[in-house]
Symmetry: C2
Subunit: 364 residues, 2 copies
Amino acid sequence: MCGPMQGAIVGAIVWEGWAQDDAGARKLVESGAVRCEPCHDHGAVGPMAGIISPSMPVWIVRDGEHGHRTFSNLNEGLGKALRFGANGPAVLTRLEWMTTKLRKVLAAAFEISGPIELKPLMAQALHMGDEVHNRNAAATSLFLKKLAPALLKSKASRSDVAEAIAFIAGNDHFFLDISMAACKAMTDAARGIPLSSVVTAMARNGVEFGVRVSGAGSRWFTAPAPLVDGLYFPGYSIADAAPDLGDSAITETAGLGGFAMAAAPAIVNFVGGTADDAIANTTQMGHITLGRNSAFTLPAMSFAGTPAGVDARRVVDTGICPVINTGIAHKEAGVGQIGAGITRAPLDRFAKAVSALAAELPAE
Amino acid sequence: MCGPMQGAIVGAIVWEGWAQDDAGARKLVESGAVRCEPCHDHGAVGPMAGIISPSMPVWIVRDGEHGHRTFSNLNEGLGKALRFGANGPAVLTRLEWMTTKLRKVLAAAFEISGPIELKPLMAQALHMGDEVHNRNAAATSLFLKKLAPALLKSKASRSDVAEAIAFIAGNDHFFLDISMAACKAMTDAARGIPLSSVVTAMARNGVEFGVRVSGAGSRWFTAPAPLVDGLYFPGYSIADAAPDLGDSAITETAGLGGFAMAAAPAIVNFVGGTADDAIANTTQMGHITLGRNSAFTLPAMSFAGTPAGVDARRVVDTGICPVINTGIAHKEAGVGQIGAGITRAPLDRFAKAVSALAAELPAE
């Protein structure tokens, strides 16, 4: 396991109260007393280290058409956060507040509001400069606007509501985890189509980068995770970075994030490059997708839909690899985020997936 | 006076309680018992009909460097609104609620928050798809995010706070009037420079379009207001429209609105044209301004500043007329908004202003 994932697991174990300290937590994992499994095996997605332990609250996103549900955890904000491998007292205290207070306040609001429709909200955010992966400034604001009246009508106390609103209003990435769960709900709808080479998941764990295609079930086609040549926070460089990490590439799998960068020219301040690069990335991704999502339109490209439905065969045919916007974690446990950037899913794992599907073809 | 302005004045007079009905209100104006003066003569700006009567609450914007203050009224939302000349019971009831409840709730919040800095908020909105004239979706959200924690900490009752937040969250144009007062604060800072041909105000009243330049004090250079060939709501056409109307062209005067359309490609759904037109408008405006505002950057144009400081001489030299995004009111009193579009400030009034300045030049 990479450093930030180790940091997040240790933090989660101490926070759960299963161990007194880091050393005790490490022993529990090494002995097998605490088991670690991929989020995707539980219908979930977690950004960066992506650790969800049993006591953590989760978002539940439901596909209204097919009925399946997906899950993600609540976003802690940037910098020193468990998902980036930080696990100090401030991180665990915030996690405790999110689990006790924030969860209850949100649950009380949802009792009033009922489910919130995510697709129109995400579509609107694309018209407001977000690509709903590394830029969720508009989506978070829109979500808060939807939820605030229900928060105020709920049974939660005024000071708890004020604290919750201040936390959400102060974290432009709050919507990220919701976006990820929504994207997994969309891509899960494409699972299990015999022989289909449509990509249903891309995920990284700081060691390997894995790809799933529809026709190959839950099998991961993996290769080493790349380093990210992005914009590093002052004092850090690529030498400090963990390799590419997290389930958040589910947004690109669904045609958002790096695929929808044309919607979000301002993101280049965060991930690097120019506004022209952002348009070029979206244009290029149109060559490896099966179509465009007419629900998510891009004003800067004459309202064309986002390129959606990555076809592993098209990736291999064109040599164009999926572009992914991503945060960058320090390679050591306990530090946290040190930058953000743009990376690519390397070619060979798509080739592996296509070969595996080919092997299943009936003999002629 | 044009129809919508008559409708708004009649509505304001009835709402103030100075007359029992429309006929009584008309008599008060015709007799001179109620005097009408331009907002700009009172440091104020009002969108569309722009009527501010003595009991209406106003935003106060202060130029921190020069100390001058500007004012605008509170935004009622789209469609049937006093500023579009509608004046039925629903319009006056909402105006009463805004004056009694909303004003008090906002005042209580500002007691907690203190003044809110507008320039960074507007700059952020430009990175979120607004041009802060006809598109204020992001700016309104950002403003609400700033204000919500203070609203909750204020002495206002929970139900009043809930009502205020629901109203603001439901009106993406709520920030418009604040943007206008901020723009006037910026352009007022350029007033009174001897012989300067920089434009300090553009305003329309549905009959005339007026331009002020810095070197000519408070003199208006006027010409007939044009009709707007925009996107009309179903059932309406240009034949139903009042000529161009309102003080909101102060946003273009400050280099925002039509001048910053490159920030807001999605606005073409509301005002017409294509995303390429939006970029082209901003590019073209760069030929008639004295510089660019480095505080307001445009991601889609490699973070170039908005073209700012319209020079009447450059308008006349190039024949390029300032582009203005605008709402469109029905030509008859009492109806309201029927569309939105893009118009141009015609050339001859800038020529008039330049001639007037030339007449003041010392003889050689």
